[in-house]
């Protein structure tokens, strides 16, 4: 009997635990009717917290200093902030890794921009604003590689190209699905670029503006083999990334639409992004 | 007079600044047994290790059958072909059977064919009443049996001289006798031996000469009757008294 008595505290503990794990009531999310710093439900009241990658590359951000507003995405970010009514002092920058932000779960930022392509799968776990840019994927390589001079997509396969991309990017999808090749998969673009510089991969697939930058600046004797035709067809463009069902998503989308409509966005594109005329199209 | 099997002349051994053996001089004629007695730390084990060239002496000479084995250009492995040594414990190789233990040296060192070595080994084991243990692992044997096998193993090399370093000190008193009996058998077959021991029984029954070692010096020597019953030096007397009180005499 004494031993049975010892079991009772366990029972009590278990009952207490199950009582504690009952969920809180979820408050209904309501859409903000006005879009201003006072009414937007940002992570930090009165401040717009914007996230980007670590490091943030040219031409998206210059010198890895988004606070300067220099660089395509830095400029877009400040334009959107201004549209929402935040002056530059009310903007705070944080850094996240690429795939950490796409993963489901609460975020430490209001929106994140680092060349996130809008996809249906991603939309199931995060919110996107309307697109602010669309571009093809392109292949960066180096002079003397086995894919230099290739003019068709089939030519890539024939040359036995070893192509690389960062995990969880649409670039990886392009290699596997559109090109049907086996990819070398890296944790991030930085690692992939290292491998390319070491000639451990023949080519790296990234979006076109990044490809221009890498081939001109990062990769010694870098070249762009070409843009991958049709890689933007399924691509809904780059969007600002927000946590799922975020109440401020509609306001942010409105802001992006506004700067597109009033020409601000095009001006930013013209200022920071080279025309795509320089890169041949691989079919 | 025939050359003695072993001859030590003024052997000295130090470990760092500590003098462990001093002025050791003695002779071991063939077919005789010399027993060293003395307290722990008196240098008995070191003496035997020096004879077997496991430790290097710091002065003096060691002659085996008249040849200087302590000289600098001697190959210890060659010398050890003529010597056999058994230690206090951890003699047998636990990962091999008794038989494998005994044939290891003959097959690997002397290059004797395995069948021949096995035959000889079984003969030896049979002679000392341990043939039925041939395929057992050492841990299945009693301490006394293990030491006897260790002795037999060293005999497989047909050594000129057998060195026994406190071979019963780790044994249960009940098991000491079987080892003593084996050593007695060896003596009666004419094996030349040097023993270091606490067991006065060995001294009494086997020794042709007993030497009392005290702090690294041979203080007294003589027949076992002389030393054990009529010691002259006070140190010897004191030692024997202590041994007697401990019930080992």
């Amino acid at each position: 009997m004494k031993k049975l008595l010892k079991v009772i505290p366990l029972l009590v503990a278990a009952l207490v635990l199950s009582a504690c794990s009952s969920s809180d009531e979820n408050s209904a999310t309501s859409e903000s009717t006005t879009c201003s710093p006072e009414s937007l439900a940002t992570v930090e009241a009165g401040t717009l917290t914007i996230a980007t990658g670590e490091p943030a590359y040219y031409p998206w951000v210059i010198d890895d200093k988004p606070e300067s507003g220099e660089g395509f995405e830095a400029a877009v970010a400040y334009a959107v902030a201004q549209e929402l009514g935040y002056d530059n002092a009310a903007v705070k920058w944080v850094r996240t890794s690429f795939d950490a932000a796409i993963a489901p779960g609460p975020k430490t930022f209001d929106f994140n921009l680092q060349q996130y392509s809008i996809t249906d799968e991603r939309k199931q776990v995060v919110d996107f604003s309307s697109p602010y840019y669309k571009s093809n994927q392109a292949i960066v390589s180096f002079k003397g590689s086995k894919i230099e001079g290739v003019t068709t997509l089939q030519g890539l396969a024939d040359a036995g190209a070893k192509l690389g991309a960062a995990v969880s990017t649409t670039s990886l999808d392009v290699i596997e699905t559109q090109l049907g090749l086996k990819a070398s998969v890296f944790n991030d673009n930085a690692a992939a670029v290292t491998a390319l510089k070491n000639k451990q991969i023949d080519g790296l697939v990234v979006d076109l503006p990044t490809a221009f930058y890498l081939s001109a600046v990062e990769v010694p004797n870098g070249i762009i083999v070409g843009q991958i035709d049709g890689s933007d067809a399924g691509d809904q463009g780059f969007g600002l990334l927000l946590s799922k069902d975020n109440p401020i998503t509609s306001c942010v989308t409105k802001a992006v639409d506004a700067i597109r409509d009033n020409g601000t966005l095009q001006a930013i594109i013209d200022q920071w992004l080279t025309s795509s005329a320089g890169a041949p199209v691989l079919k | 007079m025939t050359t003695p099997v072993l001859n030590l002349e003024k052997v000295r051994k130090t470990f760092g600044s500590e003098v462990v053996l001093e002025d050791i001089t003695f002779t071991v004629p063939v077919h005789t047994a010399t027993v060293f007695i003395g307290a722990s730390g008196s240098g008995k084990s070191t003496l035997l290790r020096c004879i077997n060239l496991l430790d290097q002496i710091d002065d003096g000479q060691i002659l085996l059958d008249g040849e200087d084995i302590s000289s600098a250009d001697v190959n210890p492995d060659e010398v050890r072909k003529k010597l056999g040594m058994v230690f206090q414990s951890f003699n047998l190789f636990p990962h091999m059977t008794v038989l494998e233990n005994v044939i290891l040296a003959p097959t690997k060192v002397q290059g004797i064919a395995k069948e021949v070595a096995v035959e000889e080994a079984l003969q030896l084991l049979k002679k000392f009443g341990l043939k039925d243990k041939a395929d057992q692992y050492p841990d299945r044997l009693s301490g006394g049996q293990q030491q006897r096998v260790a002795i037999i193993r060293s005999l497989a090399r047909h050594p000129r001289l057998l060195l026994l370093d406190e071979v019963t000190s780790a044994l249960d008193p009940v098991l000491v006798n079987e080892v003593l009996s084996t050593v007695r058998d060896l003596k009666s077959e004419g094996m030349t031996m040097v023993l270091a021991t606490h067991e006065m029984g060995f001294a009494k029954q086997v020794a042709d000469e007993v030497c009392y070692l005290h702090n690294g010096r041979i203080l007294e020597w003589g027949t076992s009757g002389e030393i054990l019953e009529n010691p002259t030096r006070p140190e010897t007397k004191e030692f024997l008294r202590r041994v007697h009180d401990a019930g080992r005499l």
Partner: protein, 301 residues
């Protein structure tokens, strides 16, 4: 009842009457009854307590609000089995790496251990280098070594030196693990009683023969458990080369997860690793037990 104080002796005749007919006394029978009852009670309590605790735990987990989400996110079996072939393919890389690295590490580790325990004056500079090597590679995280060897060396663009990530990654793993294994084997060698070596030398065995026939067999047997531990660790650590762009089981799972944001692929990968490592650890336990039993029969003479 005999009076046992004072002087006395056994009255019976020899040979002694052991093993004759005997049946338990009343006292013994009563004792047995009491013990049986107590054991039954203990078993009942054990069963009841286990049932209650585990049952409660399961109930709490399954009825908690996050359970459905948890189950879908981590344990979506249908999806898991759909992508399983890709993960198994990736695991092929892990397996191959383990075999190649494992064999090399065993050889190199042994060589370094022997080098460190040798006393030959001719080998002094090598002994010193071996010590430096062991200290360095046990002190640097293997991830760093992989990055240094896999990315750093090719950056030097030395002619004739491969820049294949798989080869370099394997090399990095081998270099690191050999340091650990060398130390394990060395410690095994050092624990063999010096009398064993003395006995072997006294029998006339050379230094090399002593090592081969007496010291190493014992040393290796002794360190088999930690060595097999290292093998299991190796199987898991092979996944780190995925940083260099090699697709192994973990990376394959990561790629799938990144597409669907469902973590079941990770669970599948974990299961595959367990399917290999658990039998291995149980087998090594059994092997060790057997070899110890054979060697250490407790004084049966």
């Amino acid at each position: 009842m005999s009076n046992k104080s004072g002087r006395g002796s056994y009255e019976g005749a020899t040979p002694y009457d052991f093993g004759g007919p005997w049946s338990p006394s009343e006292i013994e029978l009563a004792r047995r009854q009491a013990r049986k009852k107590r054991n039954q009670r203990s078993a009942l309590v054990a069963a009841l307590s286990s049932f209650l605790v585990l049952g409660t735990f399961v109930i709490v987990v399954v009825t908690s609000p996050g359970w459905e989400t948890l189950r879908n996110t981590f344990f979506k079996w249908a999806y898991g089995f759909e992508i399983l072939p890709k993960i198994i393919l990736g695991f092929g890389t892990n397996a191959m790496l383990t075999v190649i690295a494992g064999t090399s590490v065993a050889i190199i580790g042994l060589a370094i251990a022997l080098l460190r325990t040798s006393r030959s004056p001719a080998l002094t500079p090598f002994r010193f280098l071996a010590t430096v090597y062991v200290d360095v590679f046990r002190g640097i995280p293997m991830l760093l070594v992989i990055l240094l060897v896999g990315f750093g060396i090719p950056a030097l663009q030395i002619k004739g030196l491969t820049n294949n990530v798989l080869i370099l990654g394997t090399l990095a793993v081998i270099i690191t693990y050999s340091a650990y294994v060398a130390e394990v084997i060395r410690s095994g060698i050092l624990t063999v009683h010096p009398s064993q070596r003395a006995a072997a030398r006294s029998l006339g065995l050379s230094h090399f023969q002593t090592l081969r026939h007496v010291v190493l067999p014992q040393a290796l047997k002794r360190v088999t458990p930690p060595l097999l531990n290292d093998l299991v660790a190796l199987i898991k650590d092979t996944g780190l080369v995925s940083i260099l762009g090699v697709t192994d089981a973990v990376r394959a799972a990561q790629i799938q997860t990144a597409k669907t944001f469902n973590y079941t692929p990770y669970v599948m990968a974990a299961i595959i690793f367990l399917l290999v490592t658990i039998p291995l650890t149980r087998w090594t336990d059994r092997m060790l037990r057997n070899s110890l039993e054979k060697q250490n029969a407790q004084g049966q003479a």
